[in-house]
Amino acid sequence: MRVSYIALGLIGWIWVQMTSAHGFVAEEERLFEVDRPAATLNILSTADLSVFAPLVEAFQARNPTVEVHYVTASSSELMKALYEEDAEFDIAISSAMDLQTKLVNDGFAERYVSTETASLPDWAKWRDRLYAFTQEPAVLVYSKIAFEGLPQPTNRDELIALLRENPDRFQGRVGTYDIRESGAGYLFATQDSRQSESLWRMAEVMGRLDARLYCCSSRMIRDVVEGRLALAYNVLGSYAAAHLADNMDLGILQFSDFTTVMLRTVLIPKTAGNLDLAGQFVDFLVSEDNRDLIEDLTGLPAIDPGVLQREAAFRPIRLGPGLLVYLDQLKRRTFIRAWLNAMVQP
């Protein structure tokens, strides 16, 4: 009894220490305890605790002496923690590929190579430091009720035409990311702009319909489910799929012109205290054998080159220095200004 009190006290103290030491803003935090902890793995992640907890527990089932300290933060806070504050984490998981790339490029990531990482396709890794373990398409989530009587659009041009022709039905009922706040939203928007000019027409049409801007996918999906939105553009399909079973009215559309595919990536920060353990966790995430497990436990689609071959429209965002371009201060400022000009119309 006494031991456990001391342990609890210690955990509490560490927890307080961790929280108070943060300069960045953490959202959720949880210590996955084990009976006889031999080591602690500190994970900083953008993935919600509810999504990732089963995966952490599966990892612990295989490594029963590893305590996992899981902290979630927004992608920009994650960047801040590692880039500016040298926060000590063994693992950094983020969907913001551009920021992860910048961390690797600027020398904030540890090199790690194993047979597991070698089994990843080339497009899912960069510089032996950044490894993708999910491939999540950006989709259109819509309410079937709101679209009743209308032909279902298959590509962006058709959607734009549909929105233009039915302003009454969609007025105030379209949503997308606020790219000023959301790293994923900014990433999707910039990738859209790379692929086609339709982004700007889309932004203009949505702006005219008084589009509502969101920080995150989950809220957009909730609003579509609850009928406040008719459609949400550029939503992470993986999140939406989880709601699909419960809501018959919810529809998911992958555009046939192109569908941006975001890769959720993991890296080992330079500040990592336990490189071996961090390496084990990376192996656990990227292992070919664990792909089904990841899908089952998190609902996130694991890396699968076969899917990309089948889905001709899938365009995985390419890891590499190209992603740094949209992080350029001037570029970002210019891009956001242009986007806002279209999206927020007086």
Partner: protein, 461 residues
């Protein structure tokens, strides 16, 4: 015979020098490939860096007194297309950072020259290649110098250059091994005429003094000519010597015959037994001298003829019987019977009949000379697989226990025959004839009774 000391080897010398050249060339190849590949890799990187900087530079513009740089996606993505390198960039206007990594070092004098400048520096723990591209830009009323810096790590380059080094080293080693093998072949090939010449000289019999007719490469012609001249001189000198001996023997024999005839006449006319005895001694000495002179003549003839054998098919038995017939008067004087046994038909030998008769006569002569009165001499002719053997067995005093090796040397005689007059040339002649025919002479004790067995072995025809 003078022993020739080998000092160094032509072949080894040639091979070593070729290998040395090959090693130098291999190293030069390695070095050249490495440097060129390195340069090519560096040039490639420089080119792509400047292309990237150009793309960024072209996207820069001034608007309402502000510098705007819309970095094109391709400007940085192109840097990631070759290798997974870290990429840094910076745009400055009059040394003030407009955008990018503001601690990226600018190569010195980039702004002044107005041309692209490259530099290598350590940035963020890695060696980077930096390209700086300056350009004039009018912002409002003033002109600023806008410099675009694009930098890329050289980790891939290092890996590539290591790979190239390994490949170049492999190529160098391969080249060396190949040229080593070729050198070996070339050396052997070059040495072949020399070896051929050496062999052809080596193959010649000791009596063969004819000119070497082998064709030889230019370089060996002087040597060959000297050799041939030398041989001609030697041959002429030998011939002169033989002629001299023959002449001398002839000149000795003629007066000896006169001495013998005159002595015999005198013998008949003298009465006193002691005078008769003296004259008999004179006759005997004249006979012996004449015989020696004859053998000297024979020897000179043998030496001459064996250089150029006149071979024909011979039946050894017939030949032996001829010789026995010619020698039997002498044998009869001592009541010695000579028998000849062996096959009549075969025992064919290819050889010079005069020489072989001479050899056989010398053997029989010896046998008669050393046999006691009223004894037997057997001549046995037998055939081996590829040889014909003639044994001459006598019942004389044998060879004695002394050293037998010098019996066939010129003027060599057995230790147990000092009391009998002899020239010591007989067996020398036999030996020379037999070896000129590719056969051999063996002297052993007579296996049947006391006496000697002289065996001639000749290759059968």
């Amino acid at each position: 015979m003078t022993v020739v000391h080998a000092r160094g080897s032509l072949r080894r010398r040639l091979l070593l020098q070729l290998l040395l050249v090959a090693a130098i060339l291999s190293f030069a190849l390695y070095f050249t490939v490495r440097v060129l590949a390195q340069q090519a890799a560096e040039t490639t990187q420089d080119n792509i860096l400047i292309a990237s900087a150009t793309a960024i530079s072209e996207a820069a513009r001034a608007e309402r007194g502000q510098i705007l740089v819309d970095v094109p996606y391709s400007a940085l993505s192109m840097l990631g297309s070759i290798a997974e390198e870290r990429v840094f960039y910076r745009v400055t206007a009059n040394d003030l950072t407009v955008t990018g990594y503001d601690d990226l070092p600018a190569p010195a004098r980039a702004a002044e020259t107005g041309k692209p400048v490259f530099a290598t520096a350590i940035y963020r723990d890695d060696e980077v290649r930096i390209a700086a591209l300056p350009r004039r830009l009018t912002v409002g009323d003033e002109t600023v110098i806008l410099t675009v810096l694009v930098a890329q790590t050289r980790l891939g380059l290092a890996a590539v250059s290591l790979q190239i080094s390994i490949a170049a080293a492999a190529a160098g080693i391969g080249f060396f091994l190949l040229s080593g093998a070729l050198s070996w072949f070339a050396t052997n090939n070059a040495m072949r005429p020399l070896n051929r010449l050496a062999k052809s000289v080596e193959r010649r019999g000791p009596q063969d003094l004819s000119p070497v007719a082998t064709s030889a490469p230019t370089e060996l012609v002087p040597l060959l000519q000297s050799l041939n001249t030398f041989m001609a001189r030697l041959s002429a000198s030998l011939a002169r010597t033989e002629d001299f001996i023959a002449e001398a023997a002839h000149h000795v024999r003629t007066p000896l015959a006169t001495v013998r005839t005159q002595s015999e006449i005198a013998l008949r006319s003298v009465r006193k037994p002691e005078n008769k005895q003296i004259l008999r001694e004179v006759i005997r000495a004249a006979d012996e001298s004449s015989r020696s002179a004859g053998q000297l003549l024979d020897h000179a003839m043998v030496a001459l003829r064996s250089d150029n054998l006149e071979k024909e098919q011979l039946n050894m038995k017939d030949l032996a019987q001829d010789v026995i017939r010619s020698i039997s008067p002498t044998a009869d004087l001592k009541d010695i019977r000579i028998t000849c046994s062996g096959s009549d038909t075969t025992s064919a030998v290819e050889g010079d009949p005069i020489l072989l008769q001479n050899a056989l006569r010398n053997l029989l002569d010896n046998a008669v000379k050393y046999s006691p009165e009223d004894s037997r001499i057997k001549v046995e002719i037998s055939e081996g697989a590829s040889t014909v053997r003639i044994d001459v067995l006598d019942e004389g005093r044998g060879l004695g226990d002394g050293d037998r090796s010098h019996l066939t040397e010129r003027f060599g005689r057995g230790d147990n025959v000092r009391d009998i007059i002899g020239s010591g040339l007989g067996l020398t002649i036999v030996e020379e004839v037999v070896s000129a025919h590719g056969g051999s002479l063996a002297l052993t004790d007579n296996p049947e009774r006391r006496g000697t067995c002289a065996s001639l072995t000749l290759p059968s025809a």
